[in-house]
């Protein structure tokens, strides 16, 4: 690596916003690339299952426009990872369509690359039969039945498919599901930076200015040298400190020192953080080693049914004092009413233990009012709606001993009192699969717009 390379990460999740002044200032520091993460499993299984995107088209287009205009002007690549939220084909295609529209509207002609991360189900079945799928954290082996039931399966790509697009001269790269760190690290690695430093810098920058103080979805820059990197927020109103950066190294992960990624393992045990002036931090010491086999992390979801919910408040102290037994009996009655149809019925009782459930140490404190969410999942939307309404109606008019108010037990904020939430999903695949090569599973496409 001849010269230091600066990466500008505009925000922690593309579509969640960043400061325009911070972005302009960041661009004035002559970054070599704009790279940003656009997804995660963190918002839950819905996006991979439904194909709906995490952020709105309006926000995505607004922010992508800023990035692409700036990237074209500075003649530097723009890289988006985990496009659309889940990084599935539907999400990549959606993002690519927005890029085409932006290019058309602004008379730009970038070389556009897009990379899919969907894994054909037969490929996963073959890997299961070959004994090349291992549990990651799901606590169980992956069975072919899990694959049969899946709606969608993606894998997290490493930096290699993105580097392949850079090899082909891409100016804008829309990558499907990618390891967050790798999205940010790809360009410096492609330019010859040390793998461990680049991945560690990626790990910090993928959250934008969450590693700064005050933290925010905002611009963060990292400059990678031969043996260290330096972090600096885009906004002069933020600073990177040893505390903020060290704290961020722990964020959202179990092991503080050892972190596995596609084809590599990162060791942060020897890291040091040193303040440079008021706003910058120097980071030394990350080491990466390539693993002997190249494993990628699969993420897949299955549909568990269709959901309807009802939201209500409860203010009467006599109802509050009996809430547990009333909910249980009403639930049993609803199951009986709709038998033999199968229903999943749950309650969130806000003011008692809705947030922490069995981890709640204060559940026996008596609240003056409770919020209730009735949650019903059934095989089809009509049944879910019917059961949710039957249950909310039963609770509304429930009779119990010592009741003063015979007019109704639930204060509904909405009419209708039931909201249909559509299909519901859950994670069913979260396993490691051996790949034949780092790029085998991630087909790339390139086109001059």
């Amino acid at each position: 690596m001849k010269q230091p390379i600066t990466v500008l990460a505009p925000t922690g999740t593309l579509g969640y916003g960043f400061g325009t002044a911070a972005f302009e200032r960041g661009m004035s520091l002559n970054p070599g690339v704009i790279a940003v993460d656009a997804g995660s499993t963190d918002p839950g299984p819905h996006y991979l299952g439904s194909g709906e995107t995490l952020v709105s088209r309006l926000c995505m287009k607004r922010e992508l426009t800023q990035l692409i205009l700036a990237g074209c002007k500075a003649k530097i690549p723009v890289i988006v990872g985990s496009a659309g939220g889940s990084g599935s084909r539907a999400h990549v295609d959606w993002t690519v369509a927005i890029v085409r529209e932006i290019a058309r509207e602004h008379g730009l002609h970038p070389r556009l690359a897009w990379i899919y991360a969907d894994i054909p189900f037969d490929r996963v079945r073959a890997a299961i039969r070959a004994g090349e799928v291992n549990d990651f954290e799901a606590g169980c082996d992956l069975a072919e039945k899990d694959v049969d039931e899946a709606v969608s399966i993606v894998a997290q790509m490493g930096h290699e498919p993105i580097c392949a697009a850079l090899d082909q001269g891409a100016d804008v790269i829309i990558a499907g599901r990618a390891c967050d760190d790798s999205t940010i690290a790809a360009y410096p690695i492609w330019r010859g930076a040390d793998l461990g430093l680049a991945i560690h810098m990626g790990k910090i920058l993928e959250c934008g200015a969450f590693s700064a103080e005050p933290f925010a979805m905002d611009v963060m820059l990292g400059t990678i040298h031969d043996d260290h990197f330096v972090l600096e927020p885009g906004s002069l109103e933020r600073r990177a400190s040893v505390k903020s950066v060290a704290a961020h190294s722990l964020y959202e992960r179990e092991h503080p020192y050892v972190q596995a990624g596609p084809g590599h393992e990162l060791d942060l045990g020897g890291c040091t953080f040193t303040g440079l002036g008021d706003r910058r931090v120097r980071v030394d010491g990350a080491r990466a080693r390539a693993t002997s086999d190249y494993f990628v992390k699969l993420e897949g979801v299955r549909r568990i049914g269709y959901r309807s919910i009802s939201i209500a408040g409860i203010r009467c102290p006599t109802m509050i004092s009996r809430i547990g037994e009333i909910l249980e009996e009403a639930k049993r009655n609803t199951h009986r009413y709709f038998a033999p149809a199968e229903l999943q019925i749950g309650f969130h009782v806000y003011g008692r233990d809705a947030v922490m459930q069995r981890l709640e140490p204060a559940r026996n404190q008596v609240a003056h009012e409770l919020g209730l969410t009735i949650d019903v999942v059934a095989a089809d939307a009509e049944l879910a709606h019917a059961a949710c309404h039957q249950l909310s109606g039963a609770l509304l008019h429930w009779h119990y001993p010592g009741q003063y108010n015979t007019a109704g037990n639930l204060a509904f904020p909405y009419s209708p009192s039931e909201l249909d939430a559509g299909p519901a999903y859950e994670f069913s695949v979260y396993h490691l699969m051996k790949a034949g090569s780092p790029t085998e599973l991630f087909p790339g496409h390139v086109e001059n717009l």
């Binding site: 499993t41 963190d42 918002p43 839950g44 299984p45 819905h46 990651f136 954290e137 799901a138 606590g139 505390k243 060290a246 704290a247 190294s249 722990l250 964020y251 959202e252 992960r253 179990e254 092991h255 503080p256 020192y257 890291c271 040091t272 953080f273 568990i304 999943q344 749950g346 969130h348 809705a354 947030v355 922490m356 459930q357 069995r358 981890l359 140490p361 949650d375 999942v377 519901a424 999903y425 859950e426 994670f427 979260y430």
Partner: protein, 109 residues
């Protein structure tokens, strides 16, 4: 004379919870002041056992417990009560599960 104690919230600067993937919740306790970090680390007040007790769970449900000297931090990870987003989910991001840590009593001289 009884040992004087202060709640952990009076010593730490950041106490937070967050998903670490869909199957775990990780708890971070961070200190600006290395002396306070060492005080808590060495006090015996924050251990697998005391954290389990604060959450009303068995100590085996805590999958890892680290003193992270380079970050003046204590990091504890629990198996998630249910897979993130599965039926019955109460906290998709796992970001409101930190509260039992706030009141852990730390003995001070």
């Amino acid at each position: 004379m009884a040992q004087r104690t202060v709640p952990l919230a009076d010593l730490a600067d950041i106490i937070r919870s967050k998903n670490a993937g869909p199957f775990s919740i990780t708890l971070d306790i961070l200190f600006s002041d290395p002396a306070r970090y060492r005080l808590v680390r060495d006090s015996g007040a924050v251990t697998r056992e005391t954290v389990a007790e604060a959450y009303g769970i068995a100590a085996q449900e805590i999958t890892s417990f680290f003193h992270v000297d380079m970050a003046n931090a204590i990091k504890i990870t629990l198996r998630r009560p249910r897979t993130q987003g599965a039926f019955g989910e109460s906290d998709v991001y796992g970001c409101q599960q930190h509260v039992p840590l706030l009141g852990i009593a730390v003995p001070v001289a």
